[in-house]
Symmetry: C2
Subunit: 334 residues, 2 copies
DNA sequence: CATTTATGTGGGATCGTTCCCATGAATTCA
DNA sequence: TGAATTCATGGGAACGATCCCACATAAATG
C-alpha cells in the first residue's frame, strides 16, 4: 500500500537515483524516463516520505508556534486567534507546515520538543521567562518573539506601539471634552497593558489633566469576567464621582465593564463613554459597538512568518525590533 | 553545537548502541554507564533528533488537524477556536504534536502534505467533499471527522445531535408561550444548520404551531454581518407581523440580528425573545446575554484525540459514530 | 571444573530519501 | 578518426536514530 522510491524506480525500470531526480525535479532525466517515472508515480499515488527527506535535507519545512496562556485556552482568544490565523496563512503560502503548541507555564520543557530538530524555526508568542529565551538560544534554532517582553537586543521581536496607542486614546478622549478619567488597567507585568496605561497617563499629564481626576483600578486578569466584576464593584465610585469616560487596556475588560453599565441603565456614550484597546471582532459587534485602538495583528502575524523565513535562510542581517503603529477606531461607545 | 548520538557515545566512552539504550530508556545498561552517558547528555544539552527517530520508528508522534473555512479565518472563529484549543490540550497530554492547517477549498491538495507520512493521524474538521475522503482513505492514514457531513459508514465521525438540539429549543420557546416564530437559517448544505432547522420545525409541527406562524429566512453565510444584514432587511416584517421570538441556527447570526433589534429599541426579551445555537463565549458576554443551545465542543475535541489515538494504535475495532447531546442554556434574551 | 544462565556491550543493518561522483553513450569539434 | 564535451544514468555513502543479533564476561548451577 505504501511505496518507496526504490519500488517506484524498479517499476519504472530505472535506478532510484534517476527516480529521485525526476521526482524532486532537480537533475538530468530524459523526457522518456521522466514520463515513465511520472506515470508510475501517478498510478500508485506515490508521495515521497517527508521524514526521510527532512533527514537528509536537515530541513523540515515546518515551523513551531508556541503561545503562552495564563489560564484560559488561547486559540479561541479573540486576539491571539487572529494572530495564529494570519501566521497559518502566511506559513502555508511559503510552504511551511505549522506546529502549534500552547503552554500554561512557560517552562523550558514547553519548548523542548520543538528543539528536537523537527522545526526549522520558532515563533514565540506572548510573554515568557528569561531563562526560556536562554534555553532556546542555546539550540541555535532560528526564532523570534511576538508581543513578548524582552529587552534582549539580540532577539528579533515584533511589538505593537502600545505606548503611542495609549497616548492617542487619551488625546482623542480629551478632544471629545472628557476631563475625568476612569481606567481599568490589566496586569502590569504584561508589556502591553503596562505601556498602554503609561502612554495614556503620560498624555493626560501632558494635557494638564489633574491627577485627582484620574482613577486607575488595577485588574489581575484581563478578561471579560474581570471587567464585569471590577466595574460592578466600582460602579458607585464611577457614578458618584461623575467620571465621564472609561478607558481599559484591552477590549475584553471594556466589554465586561460595559455590560455592567448597560445593566445599570447607564447610557453609552451619552452618560459615559467607553474605550478599549485591541479591536477584537466583538468590539464592532457589541451593542453599542466599542471605540478602541486597533492593533494590526494580521500584519504582525504575516510579518512574523516572513521574518522567520529570512532568519531560517540565514541570508541577511536584519534589524531586531519591529514596531507596529496602532490606529484609533471610532465607534458608538464614544 | 549540535551533537548526535555517536558523539555522545564517544564522549561517554561507550558505543552508540549503548548510548541509545540509555537515552531511549529501553535495554540493558549498567548504572555506571547509565550515569556517565546521562552526564554527557545533560552537559551538552543533547536532544535526540526527532526526525531520525521518526524515520526508524515509522511514528512521528504528531497528528494533523485540517479545518476548512469558507471565507473568513477559522482559528479565530469562536466555535472552531474552542475545538482546536481542546484538541491541542488533549494531544499534548498524550505526547502528540499538532500540525494545524486551514484550507479554503477543501481540495485534495490540502490534505496532501499531511499524507507524506509526517503525521500519524488526521482530524478533519467541518464539511469536505466526498472525493477528499476517498483520497485520504487511499493512503490508509488513520483519520476521523468532526462535524463533517458524511454518510459513509466506514468513516469515524463525531457530530453533535443538532436535530435534537433544535427540537429542544423549539419546545423550550413554545413552553414560554411563544406562538409566532421567526427563523434565520444558515446555509442548508451545512449539516448542523440543516439539522438544527429541521429539528426546530419538526418540533413546532408536533406542537401544532401553524405553518403560517413560522417565517424562515435563509442565510447564505452564518456570521455576524449576515445576521445583521438580514435582520435589518426583515425588521419591518418581524415587527409588523408581531413575531415574538427569533431563533437562529447559530449564535453569530443571533448576535448580529440582536444588534439590529437593540438599535431599533426593541426590548429583549420583553418585546421579542432571541435564541441562538452553539454557546460561543460571547453569547454570555453580550448584553443582553443570549439564550442558546450549548454544544460541548470541548469534549468533542478531547474525544477526537482519544479516538484518533486509538485508531493509530489500531488495537481495537470501534464504533464509527459518536453523537453529542446538546443542552439548553437559558440567559437574558428569552 | 565444565556448562549453563544472566548481564552488559558493540557491530552493523535498517528506515527512505538526496546527492556526489563515476561511468557509459552520444554528440561535437579539430 | 580521435579527443573533448555534453548528456543520461546508476552506485553507494550519508543523514541520525533504533534494534537485532553476536559476543564477551561474570555469576550460578550441576
Amino acid at each position: 500500500m505504501k511505496y518507496n522510491i526504490k519500488e517506484i524506480a524498479l517499476l519504472a525500470g530505472v535506478s532510484k537515483s534517476t527516480a529521485s531526480r525526476v521526482i524532486s525535479g532537480k537533475g538530468y532525466a530524459s523526457p522518456e524516463v521522466r514520463q515513465r517515472v511520472n506515470e508510475i508515480v501517478e498510478q500508485l499515488q506515490y508521495r515521497p516520505n517527508a521524514v526521510a527527506r527532512a533527514m537528509v535535507a536537515k530541513r523540515t519545512n515546518s515551523i513551531g508556534v508556541i503561545i503562552f496562556r495564563e489560564k484560559q485556552p488561547i486559540v479561541s482568544h479573540p486576539l491571539y486567534g487572529k494572530l495564529i490565523d494570519s501566521i497559518l496563512m502566511a506559513a502555508q503560502q511559503r510552504g511551511y507546515s505549522v506546529f502549534l503548541k500552547t503552554d500554561q507555564e512557560m517552562s523550558i520543557q514547553s519548548t523542548d520538543y520543538m528543539l528536537e530538530q523537527r522545526v526549522d524555526g520558532l515563533i514565540l508568542i506572548s510573554r515568557l521567562q528569561k531563562n526560556v529565551i536562554e534555553h532556546v538560544k542555546k539550540f541555535n534554532v532560528p526564532y523570534l518573539m511576538v508581543n513578548g517582553s524582552t529587552d534582549d537586543p539580540e532577539v528579533v521581536h515584533l511589538v505593537s506601539k502600545d505606548e503611542i496607542g495609549g497616548a492617542r486614546a487619551a488625546a482623542y478622549l480629551h478632544s471629545l471634552g472628557h476631563r475625568k478619567f476612569f481606567i481599568l488597567a490589566g496586569p502590569q507585568e504584561h508589556r502591553s497593558h503596562n505601556l498602554r496605561l503609561q502612554g495614556f497617563r503620560e498624555e493626560l499629564r501632558r494635557l494638564n489633566v489633574e491627577e485627582s481626576h484620574i482613577h486607575v483600578v488595577p485588574a489581575m486578569e484581563s478578561d471579560f469576567d474581570q471587567g464585569y466584576t471590577l466595574m460592578a464593584k466600582h460602579l458607585s465610585t464611577f457614578i458618584g464621582e461623575a467620571y465621564s469616560v472609561l478607558f481599559t487596556t484591552n477590549d475584553m475588560l471594556a466589554l465586561g465593564a460595559m455590560k455592567v453599565m448597560l445593566q445599570n441603565a447607564i447610557r453609552i456614550p451619552e452618560q459615559a463613554a467607553v474605550m478599549g484597546f485591541d479591536d477584537i471582532d466583538f468590539a464592532a459587534a457589541y451593542s453599542p459597538s466599542l471605540t478602541t485602538v486597533k492593533v494590526d495583528t494580521t500584519r504582525m502575524g504575516r510579518d512574523a512568518v516572513v521574518l522567520l523565513d529570512r532568519l531560517i535562510s540565514r541570508n541577511q542581517d536584519m534589524s531586531k525590533l519591529y514596531e507596529y503603529a496602532s490606529e484609533i477606531i471610532i465607534r458608538q461607545s464614544t
